[in-house]
Amino acid sequence: MNNEIIKVDNISKSFNLSAKQRKARKISEKTITAVDHISFSAYEGEIFGLLGPNGAGKTTTLRILATILKPDSGNAYINGKSVVDAPFDVRRQIGFLTSEVKMEEFFTPDQLFGFFSEMHGIPEEKCEERKNALFELFGIDKFAQTKVADLSTGMKQKVSLVIAVAHDPKVVIFDEPTNGLDVIMAKVVTDFLLELRRQGKTIIISTHIFSLIEKLCDRVGIINNGKMVVCDSLSKLTEKESLEELFFRLYEGGEVS
């Protein structure tokens, strides 16, 4: 087995709910457990998929890995660095992409790439070299000097992808990668993730789309109500049944509610 790059060790995370949120969810508890003692690992050069319904705890898990949130208990490690104790070392090694991360529309892709490379301390020469390669690969060089505000949704998505990996991270964390994208853009994204895997990157994605997991992932964790229900390689999980059949069998058995 390859090197363990991502290690999630028994993490939990709860959130306080405001009166408004409690009313909306029709519950009386003042806190909600989003992640409940989850553990799993992802290895070098593989794509790990977190599968689960909305509100299962996928995004919270990825946010903890991206050092945006701190776990209440447990720890997670990226290439041996703790997200709790060494967040700066973790941030140097990850590229995080989610629909929540937006780009400043005033700048051009060229300026944004330069800015984020500088924020990661990438030397100018290396930045230029990487920018040229990535811009060419995605066809961004044609609109590199156009303000983000003037780009189409597809172009913006391409720019977001490229900027997330401007510093050549070892790990890519991608929350709902194809959410809200049309088929063409979804293909651009999946091709990009496969290309990153080919380059030896470790990728972790969250999704509720079975076909995406089947197309991309080497290993899968099914998560629900903040708990990891099952976690194994895709080939093992789908030995006797399809992923969808497995999910709904677990669902009907009460393990996935």
């Binding site: 937006k102 780009m103 301390g121």
Partner: protein, 401 residues
């Protein structure tokens, strides 16, 4: 990664200078607006004063020559009319032919010459003046004639004079150019400066922090390996510089429109002793240091409130009390000399600054007190950066976690 501050600073400044609309509304427009507004105000005041210096056409019945001579100074044009024409002349006021109609009794001069101060309250001659209060020309003419007649009445009772030494070189008003400038500028400029600085900061800081939160662009910044304190310092430094540019623009607007305002004030009889050249270079240096540290403090305070807000609109609401504090501090220390403010009060943010400005402008500055305020601004800004770092590290504040 220590250059994180510089990278964020560069990015913010490149946005500021690259976005023509932002640059125009933050730097060019404040100065331009003030210049245009004050110039129009000056012209309006001048035209009002000019109106006052127009001649007052007066229809007079039995006006004594002594009164007529006294009125020459006030630009009165006297037209003697017959008592039978009074009603026609009164109509003339409404028609704009006359400013006023003054009717003196037939024996007015005789009554005056026979008057003795110890005369008991008997019947006194009555002068009737018809005017129209809603017409400024008529109203001013009425007041001028009444003041001339009052002066005549006082002369009849003259027991002593005050400062009646017209032929000597004695100057009774001992105010120097410095005093006159300090008095006028010290009343106006501290408040104006505080307001302009605050406006500049408040127009930029919420957009840079609450705006980034609202648009979701701050997340990308926070997952870089740059310490959040560096991101904050980069933002604060750039915002302070932008706010200073906005403040300088507003200040230039005031200075450039000053000739128009001053000329109208001089026409109105204000002291011509007022001049900015009475301030020493050291005063300007103190001013600059105070302005820079105050802008830094204001930007920090507004940034803290903007960080707590979810949107630019909410940030605008949250900073309202701060605006009130700026206004109150400016009012409280208006025209105060340094001696009137306790030394410890210079440690109070905003109030101490406003008092320091007053001290500088009224030439009563105590360098120790101003230094105390500068230090207070710097220390409080430092505490503000610490608070901001804590807020930026708070997942609930930054990501609604």
């Amino acid at each position: 990664m220590t250059n994180g501050i510089w990278v964020v600073f560069k990015k913010e400044m490149s946005h500021f200078f690259g976005d023509k609309r932002l640059f125009f509304t933050s730097v060019i427009m404040p100065g331009l607006l003030i210049y245009v507004l004050y110039t129009i105000m000056g012209s309006y005041m001048s035209s009002m004063i000019k109106e006052e210096t127009e001649s007052f056409k007066t229809a007079a019945v039995n006006m004594p020559q002594t009164v007529e001579l006294a009125l020459l100074e006030y630009n009165f044009e006297i037209e003697h009319i017959d008592r039978n024409d009074i009603e026609k002349a009164k109509q003339g006021i409404s028609d704009g032919d006359y400013a006023i109609v003054a009717v003196f009794p037939d024996d007015f001069e005789t009554a005056l010459s026979n008057y003795t101060p110890d005369e008991s309250n008997g019947s006194v001659p009555n002068v009737e003046i018809y005017y129209k209060s809603v017409n400024s020309n008529s109203s001013i003419a009425y007041m001028d004639l009444v003041s001339v007649l009052d002066a005549m009445e006082d002369q009849l009772n003259n027991v002593f004079d005050v400062n009646n030494n017209e032929n000597s070189d004695i100057t009774y008003d001992l105010a120097t150019k410095q005093d006159a400038t300090g008095n006028t500028i010290g009343m106006l400029l501290p408040m104006l400066l505080m307001t302009l600085m605050y406006s500049s900061c408040a127009s930029l800081a919420p957009e840079s922090i609450a705006g980034e939160k609202e648009r979701g662009t701050i997340c990308a910044l926070l997952i870089t390996p740059v310490p959040r304190s560096h991101i904050i310092m980069g933002k604060l430094a750039s915002l302070s510089l932008m706010a200073l540019m906005g403040g300088v623009s507003s200040f230039l607007g005031i200075i450039l429109s000053m000739p128009s305002l001053m000329s109208s004030m001089n026409m109105a009889g204000a002291s011509d002793l007022i001049s900015a050249d009475v301030y020493r270079p050291s005063d300007y240096i103190w001013l600059m240091v105070l302005i820079i540290t105050t802008v830094l403090l204001m930007v920090t305070l507004i940034s803290i409130l903007s960080t707590l807000a979810h949107s630019v609109k909410e940030a605008g609401t949250l900073v309202m009390p701060l605006m009130m504090a700026v206004m109150l501090s400016s009012f409280a220390s208006m025209g105060m000399s340094s001696g009137e403010v306790p030394t410890a009060a210079y440690l109070i943010p905003l109030y101490g600054t406003s008092a320091s400005f007053s001290g500088i402008f009224t030439f009563s500055m105590n360098p120790l007190c101003v230094l105390l305020n500068v230090c207070s601004n710097v220390v409080l800004s430092g505490i503000g950066v610490f608070v901001l770092t804590k807020l930026f590290n708070n997942e609930k504040v930054m990501f609604n976690g």
